[in-house]
């Protein structure tokens, strides 16, 4: 059903029609804001990113800065399978694979670069990863760099664990778990 709201605009009275008192009222509002913010800037809403960051909403599942998970023995969980590089729509991931001398099951990434200046934060790499090795759960917001070099994340920047890790559980890295079991 269509509902129609009828607005009864009252006709302007004389003072409003000569316009000047209303201009003065408008100027009073803007000048009040101007002087208040000039002398005490605490009402200014601007967040000076990247020096300041607004707190992220506590329980939201956000895609934030990437990381590569690390196993118990310190080796990267990533097996350099190129799935994320293939899935990446922005072509921002560059991987160079290398082989462990004592492990014929899997490879490891000698180079793992993410170019944040190209990354679109879509999370496809996380979806694509068969090993659950790459994650976007650091709750840090990327960006705010002055040079392109600062926007390039290398393997050493990426490799880190969150508190409570590493966890060796999970079906995704079953092969790796078996390998680690055999090593013990």
């Amino acid at each position: 059903m269509i509902s129609v709201k009828k607005v009864n605009n009252r006709p302007l009275n004389f003072l409003e029609r000569i316009y000047l008192p209303e201009i003065a009222r408008g100027l009073a509002v803007t000048m009040r804001h101007f002087f208040k913010n000039l002398f005490s800037p605490k009402n200014i809403l601007t967040i000076r990113y990247p020096e300041q960051a607004s707190p992220l909403p506590g329980n939201a599942n956000l895609r934030t800065l990437h990381r590569l998970k690390i196993r118990e023995d310190g080796s990267p969980k990533c097996v350099a399978c190129f799935m994320c590089q293939t899935a990446c729509p922005a072509y921002c991931i560059r991987i160079e694979a290398a082989e462990y001398p004592d492990n014929t099951v899997e490879k490891y990434p000698a180079v793992f670069d993410i170019d944040l200046s190209r990354c679109v934060m879509c999370g496809m790499c996380v979806e694509a990863c068969p090993e659950d090795a790459i994650a976007m759960d650091t709750r840090e917001l990327p960006g705010g760099a002055l040079t392109r070099a600062e926007m390039l994340l290398t393997r050493d920047d990426l490799l880190r664990n969150l508190p409570g890790e590493p966890s060796t559980l999970g079906a995704a890295n079953r092969l790796a778990n078996e390998y680690l079991e055999g090593k013990k």
Binding site: I23, G26, L27, T30, F34, N37, P41, I44, L45, T46
Partner: protein, 372 residues
């Protein structure tokens, strides 16, 4: 001294002093206009609870955005200077010059102080003393329309041409109202020289009110400010360019050519501030300050050095100019834009009759008070 210098001593001193005044005054105005581009963004930011530009830095010092005008200039210089293939090359090049020239030339007539005695020479603090300066100001500001219209015409762009047409209609209309609002002042001061007008405002009314133009002609002041803002083509009246949605006359301009239009707008804002201060707020006059020092209405006097008095007067003029520039910025960021029929109606149906009425009332009062 060689005979040439001996023979032309006065002329040489006059030329040197004039060149010096032009350099100092124009330099000050250019610097102030550059700062005004920053002030525009900072004032609007503070009014809207933001911080405004604060990132451009030299060696890591940003001074809360003080270097932004320099950064803007660099950016403008290095932008591509684009000219449409079908544009009238000569007129397209000349248009920014036409926009910038009248507003710069007008500063020659603005008195920024009384006079300074330097080594026995009387240095007038005005670049060109002209008995008909007020008419010259109006005539030259009428030339500013050429910049707008040539830009729109020479671009060979229909949107630019339409913007220029709006501009021509608006600026020519408000030119009439602007001239008529000042007639009341001419009648009261009996002179069209700006320095004469400022000197006349140094008197006292009833022994304690400074006889500033705004006291005699408060109504004309409001009309003048309105018409001048419309001449300046800034936001309540910015139908000429309408930078956010309707397309303006300088759509085809880029790089420093565009910057010239933009700079002309800011310089015109300073000009309006200076004219408002000169005509209505006593120019360089400080209340109760005379050539020898302060003389308060009660009879108390404070003698001051001649140079200190001059500095106070120039300072007073600067403060008034800065205040009005700030006021124009606040108005620009407060009021929404008029519709075009409202704009024209305001000029022809409101400002013009009121200006004529103001002249009539001023004349009647002068006639009956026997000042005529």
């Amino acid at each position: 001294m060689t005979p040439f210098f001996e023979a032309n001593r006065d002329l040489l001193i006059f030329s040197g002093a004039a060149a010096l005044k032009v350099l100092v005054f124009m330099g000050g105005i250019m610097g102030f206009a550059a700062l005004l581009t920053l002030a525009e963004r900072k004032v609007s930011a503070l009014m809207q609870d933001r911080v405004g530009p604060n990132r451009a830095s030299v060696f890591g010092f940003a001074f809360n955005g003080l270097f932004h005008p320099i950064a803007d200039a660099f950016k403008m210089i290095f932008k591509e200077d684009f000219m449409p293939a079908r544009a009238e090359k000569l007129l397209f090049t000349l248009a920014p010059v036409f926009a910038l020239f009248p507003v710069l030339a007008l500063f020659a007539f603005i008195p920024f102080g009384d006079y300074v005695m330097v080594y026995g020479y009387r240095l007038e603090l005005q670049i060109a003393e002209l008995p008909t300066a007020l008419f010259f100001v109006l005539a030259l500001s009428g030339l500013a329309i050429y910049g707008t219209f040539l830009a729109g015409w020479a671009s060979k762009n229909n949107f630019a041409l339409l913007g220029a047409l709006r501009g021509a209609a608006q600026m020519i209309s408000y030119e009439v109202a602007l001239g008529l609002t000042l007639v009341g002042l001419l009648m009261i001061y009996g002179s069209a020289g700006l320095q004469d007008m400022v000197r006349a405002q140094g008197k006292l009314l009833f022994g304690f009110i400074p006889a500033w133009g705004v006291v005699y002609q408060p109504f004309a002041f409001i009309l003048f400010l309105t018409a001048a803002m419309a001449e300046n083509k800034r936001t309540p009246f910015d139908l000429v360019e309408g930078e956010s949605e309707i397309i303006g006359y300088f759509i085809e301009y880029s790089s420093m050519r565009f910057a010239a239009f933009m700079f002309a707008e800011f310089i015109e804002m300073i000009l309006i501030s200076m004219l408002a201060a000169t005509l209505f707020f006593g120019g360089w006059q400080v209340p109760y300050l005379y050539e020898t020092g302060f003389i308060l209405p009660g009879g108390k006097a404070l003698a001051l050095n001649h140079y200190l008095v001059s500095a106070l007067q120039v300072g007073s003029f600067t403060v008034k100019t800065v205040f009005f520039s700030w006021f124009l910025l606040v108005v620009r960021w407060t009021l929404p834009r008029f519709r075009f029929d409202q704009l024209m109606g305001l000029c022809w149906k409101v400002l013009l009759p009121l200006a004529l009425l103001n002249i009539l009332v001023t004349g009647a009062v002068m006639l009956f008070s026997g000042k005529l």
